[in-house]
Amino acid sequence: MTIANSSRSRKAKAQLFILRVLAYLFIGILVAMCLFFFVMLLLMSSKSNSQLQGAFSLKWGGHFLENLHNAWNDASTNIPRGMVNSFIVAMSSALITTYFSALTAYGIHVYEFRFKRAIFTFIMAIMMIPAQVSAVGFIQLAYKFGLTNKLWLLILPGMAAPVVFFYMKQYLESVLPLEMVEAARIDGSSEFRIFNEVVLPIMKPAVAVQMIFSFVSSWNNYFMPSLLLTKPEKRTVPIMIAMLRSADYSKFDMGKVFMFILLAILPVMLVYAVLSKSIIKGVTSGSVKG
């Protein structure tokens, strides 16, 4: 009996060991796939154009700084200008989106008023309408009023962000005790001060996560900016990257192209390297009620 038992448990142990090895292998392959393209990008951006035109090699090219210098000072693409434009748009969008979403969520969460339910249902309903549906009218109005090439036109629509609102509303429900608002009222604080000085600090984790997400989505946004920003000095990074694609490759420095791509994704990668934990946490709490 005991012998049979122990042999069974040994068999189970061996099985578990094999399963574990397979699981690690499976994860390892997927992790390697994700890393492959970034390793290749780094490697290729270290090669000179002639190295890239020549035979394939996995050796470090040694022209990284030279490519960086060439890409940064390329007058026809003007990537520094693009990065500044992208930064202005992404940073302002992130600030505006999170602040006004939190404000709206707070307004609906703490106050009792007549259309409370109706308004909440309405915001939930418009949440999934794709941005492209309003694009035609938006572009037409922008051209009509001469507002193309105005960066603020890409920023202000962020004030109404149903998805961020929904996230903030859920967060408020889980963290904000209404007694705290009452106490602040008794202290004589105005409603605006209560929001800015009591509620907003409590919401810091939610605000931080949503700021990152809206910064990233705005930094990466290509569709609308490409239709609105026609002047070279107003272009954002994604537009510049897409334009590289239409360049004539026989005359192009490919080392520089890889460097442009690296520069385009670098800011987001740096933020991610520091904050990956809270970003990953934010992925689930936004979409699924935990």
Binding site: M40, S101, T104, M128, Q132, V136, Y222, I241, A242, V257
Partner: protein, 313 residues
């Protein structure tokens, strides 16, 4: 009693004012930048309105003319928008099938107490990373790596796998595979994390009692995990489908907006983009948007119902 109720009543009224003040910016912005443009889009779809060279044509009311033109066969005998919708769906499915299968497997592996996988934090951080990459830059990278003179071709030729360099961007299967690969890489990590949260939300005692009953892992997966994960899985699937219908950046940049070969990788939004960027054909673009709105509207209603249900619980 009556007095206190009146005071209370007055109090809520005065606070309600603040609710409106706080939500006004949201609604002003929504009306100006979303609702009005949306209504204008619908309005446009009933008008002929485009640039013919430097000459402005219209706007002239044409009723359902734009819709008719969109839904009738063109010179080549095919209905363009249906072809592009078919392309979009094919591209989505090619990426979404491996995305969901692998995410499901990963989520089960990561959450399994028996396997007890170490180093999860790092692995999750890496597989989620592509989701944050600029889609246009990622596509450009794939293009530069897979182009006819790119390093992948050089490697394949040098190692004798193929005799001469292969132009990935001229063959339907390879273009579609590259787009699917990109979409898969960008989204499977995100789906894994969402599904993991779903599995961890399942009552742990169910797994324990199944183990006592002697169920193996495959039985546990099909009898407990999968059925209880269904709401979140279908939510993730439909949101992925809505995102898939809006596919633009990847095929646009990878094929330089041409949908090579033979417009087999042109998506509906690429068609919309062509109407908007070239001839400023607001009429035709409006009709495309309205059709898109109807399709996503139906899907969104399903998602909304799910969310609303979840929200009530």
């Amino acid at each position: 009693m009556a007095e206190s109720r009146r005071i209370k009543h007055r109090k809520t009224v005065s606070y309600a004012k603040w609710a409106y003040i706080f939500i006004i910016p949201f609604f002003v912005s929504y009306i100006l930048f979303t609702l009005v443009p949306q209504l204008l889009t619908i309005y446009n779809s009933f008008f002929e309105n485009y640039m013919n060279g430097l000459q402005q044509i219209g706007p002239n009311f044409v009723g359902l003319g734009n819709y008719k033109a969109l839904l009738s066969p063109g010179q080549s005998g095919t209905i363009d928008i249906l072809k592009y919708f078919g392309n979009t769906m094919a591209l989505w499915i090619l990426g979404a099938v491996p995305q969901f299968l692998i995410a499901l497997m990963l989520a089960v592996i990561f959450t399994s107490a028996r396997l007890n996988i170490k180093g999860q934090g790092l692995a999750k951080a890496i597989i989620y990373m592509p989701n944050l990459i600029m889609a246009s830059a990622f596509s450009m990278l794939i293009f530069a790596l897979f182009s006819k003179v790119g390093p992948i071709n050089k490697y394949l030729v040098a190692s004798g796998i193929i005799e001469q360099s292969f132009d990935f961007l001229t063959v339907k299967v390879s273009v579609r595979s590259l787009i699917a690969l990109l979409n898969f890489l960008m989204w499977f990590g995100n789906t894994t994390i969402v599904l993991m949260a779903g599995i961890m939300g399942i009552d742990q005692s169910l797994f324990e009692s199944a183990e006592i009953d002697g169920s193996n892992s495959i039985q546990v997966f099909f009898d407990i995990t999968l059925p209880l994960l269904m709401p979140i899985l279908s939510y993730a699937l439909i949101t992925s489908l809505i995102g898939g219908i809006q596919m633009f950046d990847v095929p646009q940049v990878l094929t330089n907006g041409r949908g090579t070969p033979n417009l087999t990788s042109t998506t509906v939004i690429m068609m919309l983009n062509n109407f908007l960027s070239g001839s400023k054909n607001y009429g035709r673009a409006g009709a495309v948007s309205v059709l898109l709105f109807i399709i996503t509207g139906i899907l969104s209603t399903i998602v909304y119902r799910m969310l609303a249900k979840q929200y009530k619980d």
